[in-house]
């Protein structure tokens, strides 16, 4: 068969396949040029920044670029070698360099990420570095007795290479002890990994509430006549069209201790004036405000799926003897799964990455993981922010993969 096909030629004797390819080449080229702007846009605004973020989370040359001598000593002496006079001499010469280039603060900051309280050791030492005299070990220890702390030396060895997993170590609430072994950080310092899990849990709760609330709304919208449905749809979409800050502020007005909801409850005598509910500046506030903001993302895909489910399916099921509950569970619900999937995925991913709303109404325990990313960005600790953001990205991708395995991404229907 294929032999015959390959021998087919056009009227002027050209092979048919070649003729077809050249006939289509122009159309293909034109199509490519049409999508080129989008391709470039995505590349520049999405792929490149994400690539940079990934790189920053494992690449940090704040320290490594200022310590040529020390790097050499680390290269010549295996891990675990106690720092000798040569090591201190190398350190001293690097400190002189740091003084000249004014890089001591930067370098110290990098070490300080791993061992707290070390930044000033570098700035102080660099200030008088050119006056240091051998024996350097003694001179350095005189400046600060922590200079022979193995944790500092381990941190410097690790930071002497710009490629590092230090930030991921911190992100998983781990640290290296004097022997370089990974251990959990002190209970009072554990934050990132715990918050990471908590963020996914809260996002799950928000998604679940959104689903429960959106399902009947979407069903109502799908079954109402078009004119009424459109009116209701506008109400659903209203949050979309309101600025995030306005919405959040109105939640504060409504939910705070002296807010509208509490006032009404007190006026109705449901709660006493001293028993006002704390519904904002905590986890509850985060959940309420985020459900409100994210609800349309659940309603829209559900609605678009439900609108095209003919009423005859449910009627058929009923006529076949199914109760309304069975009909819902076995006939209607399975057919809305593409919409549920899309809504859940959308809401969940958006919820996991939210930070403005939790920052405004979350108080202490309503903070999400992204707030930590933002925290480190304001502290100019890009590598840490990148490492945390990467964790978030990987977490979301894993979920996406799970979704594909369990439900199938081809079943997604976004609207």
């Amino acid at each position: 068969m294929s032999d015959v096909a390959s021998q087919l030629t056009t009227a002027d004797g050209r092979p048919l396949k070649a003729a077809l390819a050249s006939a289509q080449a122009r159309a293909k080229r034109r199509a490519f040029f049409l999508v080129l702007p989008l391709l470039l846009f995505i590349l520049i605004s999405f792929a490149v920044p994400i690539g940079q973020m990934l790189q920053r989370s494992v690449y940090n040359d704040q320290f490594s670029k200022s310590v040529p001598a020390l790097s050499q000593w680390f290269a010549e002496n295996p891990k675990g070698t106690a720092p000798d006079e040569a090591a201190f001499a190398a350190l001293a010469s690097d400190l002189v360099l740091m003084k000249e280039t004014r890089a001591a603060g930067d370098a110290g900051t990098r070490i300080n990420y791993v061992v707290s309280g070390t930044r000033s050791m570098f700035t102080k030492a660099a200030r008088g570095a050119d006056k240091l005299e051998p024996p350097f070990m003694e001179a350095m220890l005189e400046l600060d007795e922590d200079w022979d702390n193995p944790l500092v030396w381990n941190a410097m060895r690790s930071a002497a290479s710009p490629w590092t997993f230090d930030f991921y170590t911190i992100a998983f609430d781990l640290e290296r002890d004097a022997d370089g072994k990974l251990t959990k950080v002190d209970e009072t310092q554990r934050i990132y990994f715990r918050l990471f899990i908590k963020t996914f849990l809260i996002a799950g709760v928000i998604t679940a509430i959104c689903l429960v609330l959106a399902f009947p709304i979407a069903h109502l919208l799908a079954t109402l006549p078009m004119a009424k449905a459109n009116l209701l749809m506008i109400l659903v979409l209203l949050p979309f069209w309101t600025s995030l800050l306005v919405r959040t502020t109105s939640w504060i007005v409504l939910l705070q201790g002296q807010g509208v909801v509490n006032d009404i409850l007190v006026a109705l005598g449901i709660i006493g004036d001293d028993g006002r509910l704390q519904m904002i500046y905590n986890q509850t506030g985060t959940i309420i405000a985020m459900v409100h903001i994210l609800l349309p993302f659940m309603v829209l895909p559900l609605y678009s799926v439900m609108r095209v489910i003919p009423v005859s399916y449910t009627r058929a099921a009923r006529s076949l003897g199914a109760t309304s509950w069975t009909t819902f569970r076995r006939i209607y619900l399975p057919q809305t799964i593409p919409g549920i999937g899309a809504g859940v995925l959308l809401v969940f991913i958006l919820a996991v990455g939210y930070y403005i709303t939790p920052a405004l109404v979350g108080g202490a325990d309503g903070q999400l993981f992204s707030n930590m990313v933002q925290f480190h960005m304001t502290k100019a600790n890009w590598s840490m922010a990148a490492a945390l953001a990467t964790m978030l990205l990987v977490g979301v991708l894993v979920l996406y993969w799970l979704y594909d395995r369990l439900i199938g991404i081809d079943k997604l229907k976004l609207g």
Binding site: R315, A316, R318, S319, Q335
Partner: protein, 366 residues
């Protein structure tokens, strides 16, 4: 065949239905079905036939009146407890289930055991010659195949009554005709009662024991197909069922059920009085194209004949369709069998035509 009120299997009694509280979609419906009957509700869209079916199925509630099934009022019975099988126009096969699962569904909700279910599913599928398709999904099948499955699903749980809402509407002509016979055959072999809704009169005539012609929320005529065709009660039915020539006129003489009608050009014709009361009434005389005769020997003795001018002869293979000008009307159609001894007609030819007075029915003026 016609059931009386008391022993009817299905009965509608003074049923009315309004959606908006302003207009009635179904106006005072009275209808009785006997067990095992195949009744078709025929009518144009908006005539109320589908609403009646939905009330019977339980998806719409009657605004007034009572619907009885097997002697028991079912107005308050939810759809799933009525035990009525239903076939939908778009098949309504559950897209997320295989054919087998679709058929299994009504049995599962009835709590039937697995082996019994499988046996019934197999029997139902074999019944519609789809035994090999149990593992297919609806989307992988043609419209005709899906319709068979829908049929099998409506029958698999042995309902006494099966409702079909324009089930063949989406099929092409050939397949539709084939399915008509199959449904008819299933009805006969299973002994079930069927209420069938369609707007296709051919379908109605082919399949039904009785046809209820709906228009404007009322049953216009309820009769077996032949009677409906031969003896329409009113002009709507006459016009809706089959092809008809209509000649407007005034009753000249009325003698029992025999009438003489004066047409607009003054000519007189014979007719059977159906829907007219007195001399001088305006009437519409309805004659089937195949009952018009123009060979003098076929016109009954003593019957009136009138002038006709042949305008057009269309060769249709089995018949010849001839359009004539009669009493000033250009659309008078005569159909005659294409036989070897047929008298040839040519456009422009003038002839006399006539008919058996029983075939011309003087109906109401619409």
């Amino acid at each position: 065949m016609v059931a009386s009120r008391d022993d009817a299997f299905v009965s509608f009694e003074h049923v009315q239905k309004s959606y908006d509280g302003e207009t009635l979609v179904v106006k005072d419906l009275n209808l009785q079905l006997a067990k095992g009957e195949f009744l078709t509700m025929l009518g144009p869209s908006g005539s109320g036939k589908t609403t009646c079916l939905m009330m019977l199925a339980g998806f719409e509630t009657a605004t007034h009146g009572e619907i009885r099934l097997d002697g028991k009022p079912i107005n308050q019975v939810p759809p799933h407890k009525r035990g009525i099988g239903m076939v939908f126009q778009n098949y309504a096969l559950f897209p997320h289930m295989t054919v087998g699962e679709n058929l299994s569904f009504p049995l599962e909700v009835r709590g039937m055991g697995k082996s019994e279910r499988e046996e019934k599913i197999k029997r139902a599928l074999d019944m519609v010659q789809m035994g090999a398709f149990a593992n297919r999904r609806p989307a992988q099948m043609s419209g005709g195949q899906q319709q068979r499955i829908a049929l099998a699903r409506a029958l698999v749980f042995d309902p006494k009554l099966v409702l079909m809402d324009e089930p063949l509407g989406a099929l092409d002509k050939q397949l539709r005709e084939h399915m008509q016979f199959e449904i008819k055959h299933l009805h006969e072999s299973l002994g079930i009662t069927v209420v069938y809704v369609t707007h296709d009169q051919g379908e109605a005539l082919t399949m039904s024991d009785r046809v209820a012609v709906f228009n404007d929320g009322r049953i216009q005529q309820l009769a077996p197909p032949a009677e409906l065709y031969e003896r329409p009660d009113n002009s709507f039915v006459a016009g809706f069922i089959g092809e008809n020539n209509k000649l407007p006129g005034v009753i000249e003489e009325l003698n029992g059920d025999r009438a003489v009608v004066r047409l607009e050009n003054g000519e007189l014709i014979d007719a059977t009085a159906v829907n007219v009361q007195a001399k001088g009434d305006k009437t519409l005389v309805s004659i089937r194209p195949e009952r018009v005769e123009f060979k003098p020997e076929l016109i009954p003795a003593g019957a009136h004949t009138i002038d006709a001018e042949v305008l057009e002869v269309i060769y249709m293979g089995d018949i010849l369709r001839t359009r004539m000008r009669v009493a000033g009307h250009d659309e008078f159609v005569v159909k005659c069998r294409n036989t070897i001894d047929q008298m040839p007609l040519t456009p422009g030819q003038r002839i006399r035509i006539g008919w058996n007075p029983l075939d011309a029915r003087a109906l109401d003026m619409i």
